[in-house]
């Protein structure tokens, strides 16, 4: 028993040494080397954990075309419902899947825990930069040159969903700036509705609003994290919404609950600043209002056209994967090739 344990321990130590060599470029200790992402020979089996419905079909397509790189997909509850915690546990235990799905707002947490494999040196990864918008790419590299920690999967640019029938009936113009939005809120209140709902618990949504205003909460500069939760941009956005809440111009129902669905379904709330995937939530949560919604650009703070982002996820290769080269090849295909995306 004791002997066996020693053997296991030796393997673990060896594996972690190998990992250190592999992760060069990402860590601050070793300089990057191009040899850190060499493909393995022979057939490679990869494990992939995701919660995207229908992912098994996409993976089956890949497996049929790539007999040498076989991927086994596991469908699990979504990240915040326990899978992120599981990822952290598995990373600690050294049995994390090769590939996982991580939303942008959680990527830094995995980076801080050193759970992500830097795939910057893997073939084709840096070349894929041109396939994505600069802002998105910045989120998966953390601004580090020659490092890539994830491949963007989907993004959530935000826009303004509004009830065009109600706006028309009340004769209110669709707001294009936040000032107009606040003015419209007063008129809508007079017409018996609420302009929108402010979900007090949804920090990711609020982060989207702040990022539109130009605030960035977390960033790296000079190899150190800087956290700015009380920048002028953040406080501007917070004060704006606090004003609407104090004047009772918005409802404050927790997001994505039945009560929240009901507020939209009954026309109590008229607009929703949300991401592209929000259309889905509306059609499921407020089915009686189908066809009455329209989309406009997010209200602006100044004359420059900006939008926030809410949600969206990326594919990552976890530390501990024995086949980062094959894994990154797969996630590149998954997120850039047209056959995988259709």
């Amino acid at each position: 028993m004791h002997k066996k344990f020693m053997k296991v321990a030796a393997v673990a130590v060896f594996a972690s040494l190998a990992l250190v060599g592999c992760s060069a470029g990402g860590g601050s200790t070793t300089p990057s080397s191009s040899a850190s992402c060499t493909p393995s020979s022979g057939t490679v089996n990869l494990s992939f954990t995701s919660w995207v419905p229908g992912m098994d079909k996409v993976v089956a397509l890949w497996n049929a075309k790539n007999p040498k790189i076989q991927v086994k997909v596991s469908t699990v509850p979504n990240g915040n419902s326990g899978t992120y915690t599981n990822f952290f546990n598995q990373l600690k235990a050294g049995n994390a899947p090769d590939i996982g799905q991580v939303e942008y707002d959680t990527l830094p947490a995995f980076r801080v825990q050193d759970g992500l494999q830097n795939i910057g040196a893997c073939a084709g990864v840096t070349a894929a930069k041109s396939d994505f918008s600069a802002g998105l790419w910045n989120q998966v590299t953390f601004g580090e040159a020659s490092s890539v920690y994830a491949i963007p999967q989907d993004s959530g640019p935000m826009a303004l969903y509004y009830r065009k029938d109600l706006f028309q009936k009340a004769g209110i113009a669709v707001p294009t700036t936040w000032d107009e939005y606040a003015a419209a809120a007063v008129k809508i209140k007079a017409a018996g509705g609420n302009i929108t709902n402010f979900p007090k618990g949804d920090v990711n949504w609020f982060a989207g609003l702040v990022s539109q205003a130009g605030g960035q909460w977390f960033s790296t500069s000079g190899g150190a994290w800087s956290v700015k939760l009380t920048s002028p941009e953040s406080t501007k956005v917070a004060n704006y919404w606090q004003d609407l809440i104090s004047k009772k111009l918005v409802t404050t129902i927790p997001g994505f609950t039945d009560q929240w669905n009901n507020a939209y379904n009954t026309g109590e709330d008229w607009t929703w600043v949300s991401a592209v995937w929000g259309a889905n939530s509306i059609s499921s949560g407020a089915p009686t209002t189908t066809g009455n919604w329209a989309v406009a650009p997010m209200p602006q703070w100044s004359s420059t056209d900006t939008a926030g982002a809410w949600g969206g996820s990326s594919s990552v290769v976890f530390k501990g994967s024995k086949h980062p080269a094959e894994a990154s090849k797969f996630i590149l295909w998954l997120n850039t090739s047209t056959e995988a995306l259709t």
Partner: protein
């Protein structure tokens, strides 16, 4: 009586809601009165159930099957182990008996949730995570069952009967299975039911340990679906119908085992 009536309603209304909601389409679910049926309830209910059993290549029946295997097999094995352990602790005198019993009793106080993470790390060491055994093995342990079995064995299995069995030439194991188990059966049914329910409702351990969807118990499967509602709205009806279907085995277990729940089987045996 009135209080009982109120509490009965309090417990039954959610189940009634579940029953009603599972007979609705998504549109009706959101728009009609939530505690009564719609005119198309019967047809919609049938459609929902068909969809439930065929969605994603019939993964739901697989989850049900897994749950039943975990609950029945592990529950049964756990009951036998608990009975043996409780019987031994009650009828044999040996050094350290009270210490063992107290340690077991201490186990009753530790919530299963608190053990999930340590179990995960231990199973990782022996590479058993994400396997059938990683959920099955922890499920056969029941400190409460041992406790109950000991108490019950002490009061319902008279030493004289064991003595008589020994004199008649029965071995210890045979005595246990042919005499003691029968006398203890009301307690064993209770232990089994408790085990069955707790394994059936076990959620956190599978959540932490399992990754392979085909090994999921039904609780975790439904939870996974529920977390996908924002991506596929239609799945909400499946979660509701699934929840309804998943309580049926519990009802069956309770109703069919209830009649074994008789007390004092051996009370007249010595007169």
């Amino acid at each position: 009586m009135l209080i009982m009536g109120v509490f009965t309603l309090y417990f039954l209304i959610p189940i009634f809601w579940l029953l009603v909601s599972s007979t609705k389409t998504l549109g009706n679910f959101n728009s009609t009165f939530s505690l009564w049926f719609t005119p198309t309830s019967l047809a919609d209910g049938v459609t929902n159930i068909t969809k439930l059993f065929t969605y994603n290549d019939g993964i739901f029946p697989r989850w049900m099957f897994n749950s039943i295997v975990y609950a029945v097999v592990a529950g049964g094995l756990g009951t036998i182990l608990a009975a043996m352990c409780g019987y031994a602790l009650s009828k044999y005198r040996f050094r350290g008996r009270e210490v063992i019993f107290n340690v077991v009793l201490g186990g009753v106080l530790v919530p299963a949730t608190a053990l999930a993470l340590p179990l995960f790390l231990i199973f990782s060491q022996v590479q058993l995570t994400n396997t059938f055994w990683s959920v099955f093995l922890p499920s056969i342990v029941s400190p409460f069952g041992v406790y109950l079995s000991r108490i019950y064995a002490a009061s319902s299995v008279p030493d004289e009967i064991i003595e008589a069995a020994r004199i008649d030439g029965s071995g210890e194991v045979r005595t246990f299975f042919t005499v003691a188990v029968r006398l203890m059966s009301p307690a064993l049914v209770t232990v089994f039911l408790f085990q069955f329910v707790s394994i059936w409702n076990n959620f956190f351990l599978p959540l932490v340990i399992l990754r392979d969807q085909t090994l999921f118990p039904v609780t975790l499967g439904l939870y996974t679906w529920n977390s996908q509602v924002s991506e596929i709205p239609d799945i909400r009806t499946l979660v509701i119908v699934g929840a309804l279907v998943s309580i049926i085995p519990l009802l069956v277990a309770f109703l069919s085992l209830q009649r074994f729940w008789r007390n004092g089987l051996g009370s007249g045996g010595l007169k």
